[in-house]
Symmetry: D2
Subunit: 337 residues, 4 copies
């Protein structure tokens, strides 16, 4: 940590800061320049990361040197984390596709969708039983009934289930049915929920918040890992920007950046990011070309009847075509689907 | 709702949409123009707001006409909602100032702070017992112990307590000590938590999310009201933008805009918005000039020792000066503090 | 155009608006619903697009139906525009790579760079002689001397020159040396400059502004085409968002979106977008996978000596590797480099 | 400037950087910590601000210590700059209101508007003769004819004229008629235009770009001052954010922040910022409460006939009311109108 003093600071301001750093077990390294005096705090600056050095009299600015996260960082664990679920791997050479409807509607529709996507090689079925909806009047999901539909379709098809957990009180219930638990965009900084899934023994897909920085995203993953759950899968799903033609702006550069900063697998959800079915296939290919370890895609047999997010759901035929196209791109970057 | 068809739509696309609208109890009004055919859906479009009209074949775009919220809207209730708490009013002629530390640290410090702010006329003491922190390693608040400190200081000073609820499982606990319950920025779309506070009999301060639109903000308030709790106070606290000199960008235009769209009281938190103590007083004055019904301000007796958010906490002397200055601005807009 | 009236509008408000529409040669189609009265303006709404219908008494909102651009739209010209420059094509099956230093520094360095990139198949050499710099104290480019270096290296290598025009007064000068003229991000809405390049007989690369919507981007291209120059190449180069780990956020979804809305070629500049050399290759591959017609990439033989934008300049060895990798991705999407 | 080395840097990386700093006349101060080695560059870091230190092998990050601007900074000139125009002051105790139509339409309408606003105490008449319009098909302003209308109305009313310059080729022409020259939002980084107005002897209103940081805004002012023109007036006019209810998000915190960083006057344009006439008065009051030195406001006698930006133009009656209200707020902050 570098502490820059104001040109008009007092000598006692300097000594008070040095004292505080030493009290915390750090060494202070003072450098008086022509225009500014700066203090370098030597030692593990995470110790004082949360202290308000900025509030000390005489301080102009504080510049952190170390990253605020640890367990998730590649510096801490250089090799890729590969998460194994029932014999399948996420984060390895294979790119996994997780597909299904936004919300679980009925066992029959879910079954139809599973029938339609499985031939493309999909092993993970997604579907929401608890749905975070902007409007209190919108369909909120079938709850446990929906989880049961998912489990029944999973068993019939030999797939794995990915579903969202919204409330810490539902943790046991959701874990009973899910193979992978999803934490949604709007809950990326629901710290109690993160702590909760830090204590379960299931992989967690953590979706990036609409306006979360990469640093905050990794800090939320750190919350989960700090509790002991090392099976965290990061999911980029678009940022909120001024552009309104797409629902959000998919930050594909987050993929190579995250792969560099962390050892955790990184997947991409093109469906929620763009919110328009016509752009999903191009973005899926781009994600794979950029190094994503998987895709989370919405598919529905009849989007115009979907109870949620129809406009971004691919029809099975278009989904199959997309998977074929993605397969070719995967090979071009030495991966496979 | 206006449904715009693509220039190349089929006749059957049109009839399928009309059928669907009529099935939902709406009338379809078709208008064939030179360049586009459009369908107007007549009736309460909220009935179909959640249906994926965009997914119907032949549809180019869908334009909503009605607002998606109802109970919170001024159209529904034209007169201002004035919330009464222990004889004080929020949303009336008086502008209320809610002040205190970011996190409750100890009974002694809290007491010192209450001593320092009460002479300025502050009746509401804020302080967090449960703190949402970006880092799992940062101080997370004292929990119930902190709530007890708040209650004890409240009783000693005859003030009212405003404190944050982060987890639905703590609702009963927090309500036992709080006079007003706060829902934080990162939980603005924690829909389960909103539902929970929709069922309590205490006023709720709902803080706007960092990247929440005005519409989403009002929909979250609608969530609370839809459960029956009509005592919702909206709090603008800054948007996340590209600017890094301030922590966030305080959207003061949200104040007159919200006052126009809703009957609910609107307050402003300049401390979290700018994140720098030197800009807080100017923004407090601006908020009042723009029509805010109150302020939420961080004050600490020794910001450099604060366990959280020191850089944005005013010292008592600066706080008192700010309140005096705000009082003059309040009078200039025919209000009082 | 749909004009929505306020619930409390007067009859005379309605008739005044109808009158105005008819005066402009449009037909007004009135639809009185349960909650709102709406007026559909039938005819070419572009005629009134610029009129302040929103200012009429009784109007609640105005919703455009038609897109505000024409010549650039795929509706106007369905087939792709392929731009031919000295026997090479931009916008056809081949993906073109435009590479070179940010700023032209000396004939020798430029020569070295051209030597290094040509073996990878690069036919277009980029380099700035006029540099838009944030600081007045930074290197502003060599001006005509730089243009002469570019021309000399072009002639020696048989390449084509892409260089930026910043000032309408330099148009003739720049056109004397350039094969393709570039309009920079900060000048995307320098309408006088757009008009100027609308009158030249050279292809123009128009870079998207940092916070330009897709609609504004296309309107700027329309400015150029409206003057008669049909050879416009659109270049996505990143949006300004809250994320600070990358310089900008590359909006790759703009590629398939633009290809759908317009017939013009679309290229991507990953170097300026991310501003970090380590992320450039992944983003180049993503751009191609998403359908880009070309890349604009910064290359320097010794980035640490570059007079501008070193941190985002690839070294020749990394550039050659990137082109090889891109070639494989191009084949996976049925294109070639 | 602080240069942070990667944990895996080589000794020769370090010595190469030290060498380069010394070559530039700076001293290098090396500090080897537990986790990172950092190099402090001592001396005027502006000398190397533009050099790509980030591109040196072994460098992890580069943190600037000094601000990149000089002439505009309060550190350089502590007292406020007060600009005098024909006996009136901008930047002094009086708050100046600059009002008028967006575009000059005719001498008659301009005259009517001047008649309407002068009684409120307005001394500066704004109006565009050259209009930057998003669409090439929209009204682009009357050019010199418009300037003549402005001059004629100015002379008749004894007011001063504020008008926009868009093209360096029009500088002499515009200066012939204008008392204050305005550089528009979209030209904030049109560096050639900035250089041009740096050489004139008229005050310049520089509007902040839609996505310009405070630092970039000040660097653009530095461009003008670096040429010798010290009469720069900064104008905040809203940022582009995700919010669509308002046209832009007015960053009122920019006012106290700029007043702290620079000695130049700061005014606010609420009309363009919010783009809705109903919110303009509240934002005008907020701007004054926050410390603005003036307002730039759109007024039109018949907004529904305005050739540009009608929805944000106040009618004279509402304008007069707003000025009265602003006068009271001004007094509450010890200023006057």
């Amino acid at each position: 940590m570098i502490i820059v003093l104001r040109p008009d600071h007092q000598e006692e301001d300097l000594s008070r800061i040095v004292q505080r750093l030493e009290d915390m077990g750090l060494r202070a390294h003072i450098s008086k320049g022509e225009h500014r005096t700066i203090i370098g705090a030597i030692g593990d600056e995470r110790l004082i990361a949360e202290l308000p050095m900025q509030s000390f009299p005489g301080v102009e600015s504080v510049l952190p040197i170390l990253k605020p996260y640890k367990l998730v960082s590649r510096e801490f664990k250089p090799e890729n984390t590969v998460i194994r679920v029932n014999g399948s791997e996420i984060g390895g050479q294979q790119i996994q596709i997780i597909a299904g409807p936004c919300a679980v509607e009925s066992r029959e529709v879910l079954d139809e969708i599973a029938d339609a996507i499985q031939p493309a090689g999909v092993k993970f079925l997604r579907g929401g039983a608890f749905k975070p909806r902007t409007s209190p009047y919108a369909f909120q999901g079938w709850g446990e009934k929906g989880l049961k539909f998912l489990a029944s379709v999973r068993d019939r098809h030999g797939m794995m289930v990915v579903t969202e957990l919204m409330d810490p009180r539902d943790t046991v219930l959701v874990c009973k049915y899910a193979d992978i638990v999803q934490i949604g965009t709007r809950n990326m900084q629901n710290f109690r929920l993160l702590t909760e899934v830090g204590n379960i023994d299931k992989p967690v897909i953590l979706k990036r918040g609409l306006c979360a920085t990469i640093k905050e995203f990794l800090m939320s993953a750190e919350y989960i890992m700090a509790q002991g759950n090392e099976k965290v899968i990061l999911c980029e799903r678009g940022l909120r920007t001024f552009e309104t033609e797409t629902r959000n702006t998919l930050d594909i550069s987050a993929v190579p950046l995250l792969k560099q900063l962390t050892h955790l697998p990184v997947i991409v959800d093109p469906s929620h990011a763009v919110g328009r079915v016509d752009l999903v296939p191009a973005m899926a290919k781009a994600a794979i070309a950029a190094g994503a370890d998987g895709l989370l895609v919405e598919v529905h047999v009849r989007p115009e009847e979907a109870l949620s997010d129809g406009p971004q759901s691919l029809r099975p035929k278009d989904f199959s075509k997309m998977v074929e196209d993605c397969r070719r791109v995967a090979e071009a970057v030495d991966r496979f689907i």
